[in-house]
Symmetry: none
Subunit: 419 residues, 2 copies
């Protein structure tokens, strides 16, 4: 039987346009992959009467209602009360949830005594529900079923909503997803989405199982294969030849399958080879170091870096010769080279990356255009420099510049052409 | 009379999660500013029956229905047909719209002859409507009124929807928009959402105009005042005493009103005072520098920084004495102090920030717990160190640590207690 979901987002901030309903996007993608139809999204404010009406409409046309938001400690947070009322359930105090929150609060505020009273509101859950422990925030979620309609309540912040769905709601819905859906995500750096899509278009439309869909991510493209079969093994077997065909087509542009990011691939390669890296950053201003150190265990391979925003710092700290800075300017091939070699010497790392460029919004004082960036990699032997012409706003240029630096590192560590 | 709008987005790509409903966010913001309430957003696929039902529900609870999407040339584009049917109108050929499209097509494809037949579908509009010429794309929109309910149809792409609303729909709604809604956002760092709310709860419920609502952001709280009045001046006058009362209550915890972020406040203060800053980061790994340099014009005040992830780099680059590192460990008050002083000397900046701590997931090799962080600020005179016990996942600890460092900088620059 095919099930139908309606997503109800609760929050006046959505109706005021303070935030977009990204939860609906995330959940819709996940539900499609599970084979559950999504026919309606609804958004309603922190108003019990209107929420009640929306829930009544939803239960008449969907057998899965997923709410997002309105589970917090403030008086605006009324989702649980209204849903419990609509489905004839009482809210009962969940001792385990309360203890968990107390522990979380104590960890957050070790010196401030007891948790405030309003926080306990979050520990009241509909009787007979399956509580969803929230390991990504405070408010627990839950799931229950009444007369064939299932209700799932998730917290609103996307950083909590997404993992709560995957880790808590999916097991709760397991019996509704007969058959197994498996997917593989091939990640591509170095070719734009429309170019990838143009290469694949006819191929894609012909594919039924597995299906193939491209997703544009900032400066990258994801290709997701999704197969449906009776078992995990059968689904994997369906995807294997399709993955092989994609690998033949895109070759070294594919930097990983089911990997979280370019930086995580780099860190794993560094660890495997017992090598260390350091970074020298100008226009990325710390972004490259930040992305590498977002990963737990980064200290095994990442020694440190220098954000040489001013030329003076390039000279004083990284030892970039003043005559290079004077002759070619800070945004130049020779300076990118000297920055990478300088930070490598400074930290004694095996490899070193450098980035210098114009992130915008204005051209630099030498008239170099916004988006011109040099990235380089130094190690034993010759230093390599790649020049990039990136487009878009400041944040995108910085992100792409960091991607290119990481791509150099990945290629070097994998013995590929530097491209 | 206050009017109530419902936004209906039409498109299966929204229900599959391929895109987020950003049109709803844009339009909600614009409608709030016009004093028109938005009580519901709905999303429905390219399905005439379900769209019809959603429209029938909407006309029972709103007197303004705005649709986005489904105006294009393909057979999925059914918004006009369904809305015209629901409101008892015929679609009639609009010659002006057709000529405009032909011209647009010729400009886009100068060599490809005549426009394809399916494009003419877009020139059929409900009889008696006000056509909305689309200068940002192909498909025209329109507006009409039946029995006191107004219908506005806008194209789906946000780059068309937003200007079409402002330039075409707003004039169509002019006679409905008496009154102005204005808001002010006070930003607080240093107190949690539930504590802020506990202080304000009674007060908030008593407030009608302006209203007051708290929003939790990562490690911060926003308080939003919203007032409705006949003019912008009158709305501002309603908010002024409420803002003053909040300032008396929260004092130095309020770091700005209608400001984008803690780092932007810091950067503005640095520029006003013609001071420079540099940073030394361990557990934040570049995040602090990255946040400061995300802002255009950061180079006016930010000289650079050192990511001293390894103790060796703390010593070799920042000149942190080895005996401090040995005696107290890298995560300690004396090392935080030495890092800030070290990077200040290295870069010659007026002020310097340092962060050292345990971001997790594991305690450090001295057994310091995850979340223990020291942040410090050095300048002329004494170096100040603050100790933090942060909770949550790695990313949150890093974000909070950077917030605390920025808070030290803001307090120093504003002559406040370091707290």
């Amino acid at each position: 039987m095919v099930h139908t979901a309606e997503l109800i987002a609760v929050g006046t901030e959505l109706l005021l346009g303070n935030i977009a309903n990204t939860d609906a996007q995330i959940l819709s993608k996940e539900l499609s992959a599970l084979g559950i139809n999504v026919f309606h999204h609804s958004v309603v404010g922190d108003n019990p009467q209107r929420l009640r009406e929306v829930v009544e409409t939803a239960r008449g046309r969907a057998d899965l209602i997923i709410t997002t938001g309105g589970l917090g400690p403030t008086c605006d947070d009324l989702t649980k009360n209204v849903l419990a009322e609509c489905f004839g359930k009482k809210l009962v105090f969940n001792r385990e949830a309360a203890l968990r929150m107390e522990a979380y609060f104590k960890k957050l505020h070790p010196d401030s005594g007891k948790m405030t009273e309003n926080n306990y509101q979050q520990a009241y859950l509909p009787e007979g529900c399956v509580p969803f422990q929230n390991d990504w925030g405070t408010a627990p979620g839950c799931g229950f079923e009444v007369n064939g309609v299932r209700v799932v309540m998730l917290p609103g912040p996307p950083s909590e909503c997404a993992p709560m769905f995957r880790e808590r709601a999916v097991p709760f819905l397991q019996d509704w997803t007969d058959g197994v859906i498996a997917s593989r995500t091939l990640r591509i750096f170095g070719m734009g989405e429309s170019a990838v899509e143009a290469q694949l278009r006819e191929h894609m439309n012909a594919m039924k199982n597995p299906t193939l869909a491209p997703y544009a991510k900032e400066g990258e493209v994801e290709l997701r294969l999704t197969a449906k079969a009776d078992s995990e093994e059968a689904a994997q077997a369906l995807m294997a030849p399709a993955e092989a065909a994609l690998r033949r087509r895109f070759g070294q542009l594919i930097y990983g399958v089911d990997v979280p990011s370019l930086e995580s691939v780099c860190l794993e390669l560094l660890k495997e080879r017992s090598l260390t890296v350091s970074v020298a950053e100008s226009c990325t201003g710390g972004l490259l170091a930040q992305r590498l150190t977002d990963l737990p265990g980064a200290s095994a391979a990442f020694k440190g870096g220098v954000v040489s925003y001013w030329s003076q710092v390039k000279h004083d700290v990284l030892n970039v010769p003043n005559d290079l800075l004077f002759q070619y300017g800070a945004v130049s091939e020779p300076v990118a080279r000297a920055m990478a070699e300088g930070v490598r010497t400074l930290t004694g790392s095996d490899l070193a990356l450098a980035v210098t460029g114009v992130a915008g919004p204005d051209p630099d004082d030498r008239g170099n255009p916004v988006g011109l960036v040099y990235v380089s990699i130094a190690g034993q032997g010759e230093t390599f420099v790649r020049v990039i012409h990136a487009a878009g706003p400041r944040a995108r240029i910085r992100h792409l510049a960091a991607n290119h630096a990481l791509d150099l590192l990945r290629r070097r560590l994998s013995g590929l052409e530097m491209g």
